[in-house]
Symmetry: C2
Subunit: 426 residues, 2 copies
Amino acid sequence: MGTDDKPITPSRRRFLGGALGVAGAGAVGAAGGFGASKATGDDAQPVSAARTQVSLYGSHQAGIATPAQDRLAFAAFDVTTTDPMALQTMLGLWAAAAHQMTTGQPVGGTGSANSNPAAPPLDTGEAFDLDPANLTITVGFGPKLFDDRFGLADLRPAALKDLPAFAGDTLDPNRSGGDIGVQACSNDPQVAFHAIRNFARMARGTAVMRWTQLGFGRTSTTSRSESTPRNLMGFKDGTNNILAEDTGDMDKFVWVGNDTDQPWMTGGSYLVTRRIRMLIESWDTDFLSDQEAVIGRAKVTGAPLGGKHEFDPVDLSAKAGDGTALIPAHAHIRLAAPASNGGMKLLRRGYSYTDGIDADTGLLDAGLFFICYQADPEQQFVPIQRRLGQNDALNEYIRHTSSAVFAVPPGLSGPGDWFGKKLFST
Amino acid sequence: MGTDDKPITPSRRRFLGGALGVAGAGAVGAAGGFGASKATGDDAQPVSAARTQVSLYGSHQAGIATPAQDRLAFAAFDVTTTDPMALQTMLGLWAAAAHQMTTGQPVGGTGSANSNPAAPPLDTGEAFDLDPANLTITVGFGPKLFDDRFGLADLRPAALKDLPAFAGDTLDPNRSGGDIGVQACSNDPQVAFHAIRNFARMARGTAVMRWTQLGFGRTSTTSRSESTPRNLMGFKDGTNNILAEDTGDMDKFVWVGNDTDQPWMTGGSYLVTRRIRMLIESWDTDFLSDQEAVIGRAKVTGAPLGGKHEFDPVDLSAKAGDGTALIPAHAHIRLAAPASNGGMKLLRRGYSYTDGIDADTGLLDAGLFFICYQADPEQQFVPIQRRLGQNDALNEYIRHTSSAVFAVPPGLSGPGDWFGKKLFST
């Protein structure tokens, strides 16, 4: 699919707008011109002006360095077509729709294609009146997409491979993996859900949703503008996260640099998701002192053991009067600390979830949908999780139930660019 | 359990505060004195001042006439004890905790019982720093609670009985019914989840959670202060709902009056919940004109067919030039309209939900967790749903997957009162 620099005329806009809501609109992809910069529906109803927007366009995809929004809807898709053009068409339609949704516009308009009432609505409608509330939509590609279906095998980055098995893994394969991962974050959960649902709708005939996860509360701080939230264990989470303002750390630990084996990934990042169920009934009966020893921090203040305040440095060598370490050997923050992992860090961006009651046990199925971004999972998530899976005192209270990894390409340059365009045009 | 008018001294407060986090604290119930008006933990850490609160106390329970908050956590419990005093103790602990949580205080304090670190924390902690965000906690009793276990058989109101089977029902018994229902609503989902979770924790040994449901977006308007939201079909929902400001309608249709057969219910209401899954993939392929005919309203504006604006009166007799009804015979709003139901109305208070992917079909499990309040389900929900179940054009696109009914007693008078105190002291 080549670039298309022809001006977007009103009739072409209408055509693209109409096609956005229609499954299998393969011809549109071939015509290019994704990313009409304005909603193009046929219905003249006013839509509320969007007050809080994050641009889809930039050198990196939004939703990584963006200050973490409050709510998450995540979905993984499996591609069902074997036609590379159909796949590219879908990714192009997604990009155009992502621009519309992130600017508070309906996908393709509020009406139906060509204003014909005997046609399905272009947009599913549940976000018509809603502010995008900082909606970001971030798209990545799983290792399996680089098999022999689409001629991408030679373009798979060495850093993108299935994660190894870790000690204690209890993964549900039906909730793991996927050809494409989509992270939608917004301060309004209906806006985030709407994005995922409309992506699924546009995928019809090309890809199917493999699994999805709603997250109701952020558990990370990714900017100095945010306070540290608490996870469902009641502890502050993300205190020592990489901050977007730390551009040195972002460049070193999060963004893929020019030294990548696959130039289409320069400016991108690698996304790892882990659905970490907490055995909260068990956790809730644990003594406060044990909980704090397991985590390595005071529960109320978030201060590292031995410190007084949340942001006090984590002193792994601090000792009590009797010579024992104040932060125990198997405490979570000791094992996860950069000092225990060759200086390696991750950008965390997870969310608390609850999915009702576990039918097998009658216990709450709730915990943390862990999300992290990094320049190379083999150097970052994998060795850290290997250490945690073997020794973390927290393991008594958690179960990893889903796992996925995606290569997140760099940001979209503007209208006409789309998710993975560089990959497919390499 | 009698009343207890003795002043709450600091040492008694500490005892109660400590007991709040401890399972099976039966002795506390016998001592009465629930509802210490202040958090009583031993930890002096400051907690953020609560900015937006709805009082737990009043003639009616909060969470019914309260303007609908944005997020929901609902849970149904089955009582496992056969000791009526243990049940009352739990309900009293819940009331004390509900007062603390709705005023932005942790349950029993931020520390552990008696400041002993070798004891579990009193509160699970995930809401320590959060504003209650208009948290309301509403408690009701299911028909089964009035069996022979607790000596309540003669106190069951005639209006409280299992709902009959309706045409098209596809109910999951594991997600239906329950001895006690708890609705927690807040503008912060973590606050609502925290309430349900801590209730479950305090119930340990007395009751177990039977099912739970998270709702991510309100689908009703219950006050003139709110705009009409959209449900996941993309239509405005709740346009003609009873408004809390319409005290005439509230008294007539929502609150149980003095004429009840069970005086402990005067000032209460009956709560019906129905988990209504939407077959959204199917809905999304339906023509816009068909969707509007099924609902009976225009999708974008919410105007009734034949009208121009959302709040135009619903004219069921309006006809097109060819003599056909503008609002079709089987349109949802025609069948649900008061004029089609002997003037009967319901107070709706439902929420959109999504619970991931249906493993059997690979389709999204999403829809509406319908909640309504009324003075008598036999006269209100039952005949309306009977009509809808048989004839509603919407039935092609929805499945009722869970059902429950609860008698919601009147409001708590203040500290010392608790959920069902009048019932148990009758």
